[in-house]
């Protein structure tokens, strides 16, 4: 790779090899990697959202990606090749609303989402009485659940495909349940055409034991027995019922292997989700064939006639990059050629 002037600076970490394995050791599948960055200046809350998205995409993402003002899309693309980055998350902000573009490198397609509403992970943690964040929460990649994307038209199918490929596929034969800690939910609402983006942490809890026992086992703390006359009271005395015992019936699983200390194999465990954040409400606005360029396959704001007209529909996003993008198109194809040579 030639030296580029305004390359993206990625902080090296000492312990980790710079280049993670690009192929899953067990299934032999290619692991998708992504980087999250912004175009243009973002207000602080959106910067926080960017950070949250990076955390969500862990571990196959650049958490400490440093971007500079002069970095163009081309720079990111140049880095993406050797680093094995397959997806871009691009945040941008216009006077009307913030936008999220999800793109596959290096050829595209690019999906542009309008972020109608968003809440940061911090906001959500603040709204909860007991926010939960175990240490190993972000050590494994999240699962993805897509729901409601039924109709078979192109933009929706593209969206499902895109998001399915953003996270590594799991092999049911070999996957360890203990590595499934988080889940990303994309729920499409047919009527409003909005996509709800949620991020939950998965918690397993043994079923059948009383609340006190569960707490005793989980907390590793000596229980307070001073109000009891006998030890047996601790077990027999009925505590107040758990929050929603009724709903839990459907959400129980039998585990094939032990997870942690508490959840043993072949016992019933309840699946409990707690939101981690960020939370977003997205609307698919545009689909482009290339990487932030190319033929417009779908546009919310009118019929996609051609390449030229589509740019007028969302001038605010393209504003800053218009000039650089012209050259990027050429660069992109050139880039592809290079990649091919290298791989051979």
């Amino acid at each position: 790779m030639r030296k580029k002037k305004g390359g993206v600076f990625i902080k090296k970490q000492k312990h980790q090899p710079i280049q993670q394995a690009s192929v899953d050791p067990i299934t032999g599948k290619k692991i998708p990697k992504s980087i999250v960055f912004s175009r243009g200046k973002l207000p602080s809350s959106l910067k926080q959202l960017q950070m949250d998205l990076r955390k969500l995409m862990l571990p196959h993402t650049a958490l400490n990606l440093k971007e500079k003002k002069r970095n163009s899309l081309k720079d990111f693309l140049n880095v993406a090749g050797p680093m094995g980055v397959t997806h871009f998350f691009i945040l941008s902000k216009t006077p009307s609303s913030p936008y999220l573009r999800v793109a596959t490198t290096p050829q595209g397609p690019t999906l542009t989402f309008k972020i109608h509403e968003y809440s940061l992970a911090a906001d959500i943690a603040r709204s909860q009485s007991h926010p939960r964040c175990p240490k190993d929460l972000f050590q494994n990649s999240a699962l993805i659940v897509l729901s409601g994307f039924v109709s078979g038209d192109l933009p929706l199918r593209l969206t499902t495909n895109m998001f399915q490929n953003i996270f590594p596929t799991i092999d049911v034969k070999t996957v360890k349940l203990s590595s499934c800690q988080r889940i990303v939910l994309l729920n499409y609402n047919k009527d409003t055409k909005l996509i709800d983006f949620r991020h939950y942490s998965i918690r397993l809890q043994p079923v059948g034991a009383s609340r006190r026992i569960i707490k005793l086992v989980q907390n590793r703390q000596v229980p307070d027995l001073k109000n009891l006359r006998d030890v047996s009271d601790f077990v027999t005395k009925a505590g107040y019922g758990s929050e929603s015992e009724g709903d839990e019936e459907a959400a129980t699983v039998t585990l094939s292997s032990d997870i942690g200390r508490v959840n043993r194999a072949s016992t019933k465990s309840a699946v409990k989700l707690q939101e981690v954040g960020p939370r977003m409400t997205l609307q698919l606005v545009k689909v482009e064939k290339g990487l932030c360029s190319g033929e417009v396959l779908f546009s919310e704001y009118g019929k996609p006639d051609g390449k030229g007209k589509s740019d007028d529909e969302m001038p605010d996003i393209q504003d800053g990059e218009e000039d650089s993008e012209g050259s990027e198109d050429e660069e992109e194809s050139e880039e592809d050629g290079e990649d091919a040579e290298e791989l051979d």
């Binding site: 609303s97 809440s119 709204s127 199918r157 034969k173 998965i202 699946v271």
Partner: protein
């Protein structure tokens, strides 16, 4: 005025003298004060005289006060305060002075009138005029403005200036507020409770997780008790997994066709649309590996094709 100068002179001298005294033990030559003066100061008679003169000067004011303003107590108090301050300035001699004053009050006044009659009358009149003016100003009820009492025609100018400043600040604040609003657009602080929509989303996600876990459980319990290193068992595993997968594949299809139409219509929608054989799908090779990578897959993973397909299906199964 002449008296004032007279009064001031000894004051100064006194002060100087004090300093001199303090320092004199150490450095007697620092301040060349005439020794005669010192002695004069110490002299009781002279002291009396100075006190008298000082009192005369002060008594002017006091007299005026008593004569002119018996009514406005506030101003009087003020004046007296000022007076007492003045007195206290006189090297703490005020106490002694007062007793003296009482003794020689009539005498003093007589002396006063006799000495400087022509000048004083005018001075006192001027003083009175000033006092009247001052009182008028003080008496004036000032409208309770933020600006407060301002004396002259500058009032309007200052008002204008302040108003302008205020407007500017307001504008700035509004601009900043607007900017902040713009930056925070779309940012929603979530409520402390779960509303119905959130609950629904959570239940959907839970369903997905449960489905996946169950699938994993089924798949992994199949190969329990078999050692994959032995070729015979490996064959068996492959066979079983294949069967298990095809049965697993079939289930959600039928399931989705039947029940999912209402609530969770999403389940297995991938399978509905797309053929089972990967190359026939729309998304085949769309996003993932390149064509030239085909030979990079390790040869020993012969069953990889099946497993891969299965995993893909089951991963979409969780949808």
């Amino acid at each position: 005025m002449a008296e004032e100068t007279q009064l001031n002179e000894p004051r100064k001298r006194k002060f100087v003298k004090k300093q001199g005294r303090k320092n004199s033990s150490k450095k007697p030559k620092v301040i060349p004060v005439p020794h005669g003066q010192k002695k004069v100061k110490i002299d009781k008679n002279m002291k009396k005289l100075f006190h008298k003169r000082a009192r005369n000067y002060n008594s002017d004011d006091e007299e005026e006060d008593e004569v002119a303003i018996p009514a406005t107590s506030i101003t009087k108090k003020n004046k007296k305060d000022i007076e007492s301050e003045e007195l206290s300035e006189d090297e703490g001699a005020a106490r002694g002075e007062k007793t003296l004053k009482k003794n020689h009050l009539s005498e003093d006044e007589g002396e006063d009138d006799g000495e400087v009659l022509p000048g004083i009358t005018k001075f006192s009149e001027g003083c009175r005029a000033f006092k009247m003016a001052f009182r008028n100003i003080i008496k004036k009820s000032v409208p309770d403005e933020a600006l407060g009492p301002v004396l002259s025609g500058h009032k309007k100018l200052i008002v204008d200036k302040l108003a302008e400043e205020e407007a500017e600040r307001k504008n700035k604040g509004e601009a900043r507020k607007e900017k902040h609003l713009l930056a925070e657009k779309g940012h929603v602080i979530p409520a402390n409770y779960l509303d119905t929509h959130e609950k629904f989303l959570k239940s959907v996600a839970t369903k997905g997780v449960v489905k996946l876990f169950n699938a994993v459980n089924k798949a992994q319990s199949v190969q329990k008790g078999l050692d994959s290193s032995r070729t015979k068992d490996a064959k068996e595993i492959r066979k079983r997994t294949k069967e298990a997968f095809f049965t697993e594949l079939g289930k959600p299809l039928r399931h989705s066709a039947g029940t999912s139409a209402k609530a969770n219509a999403s389940t297995g929608m991938e399978e509905d649309e797309q053929p089972a054989w990967a190359p026939l799908r729309d998304n085949y090779m769309l996003t993932s590996s390149r064509l030239k990578d085909w030979d990079k897959i390790p040869a020993n993973n012969v069953s990889n094709d099946d497993i891969g397909k299965g995993s893909e299906d089951s991963s979409s199964d969780e949808d």
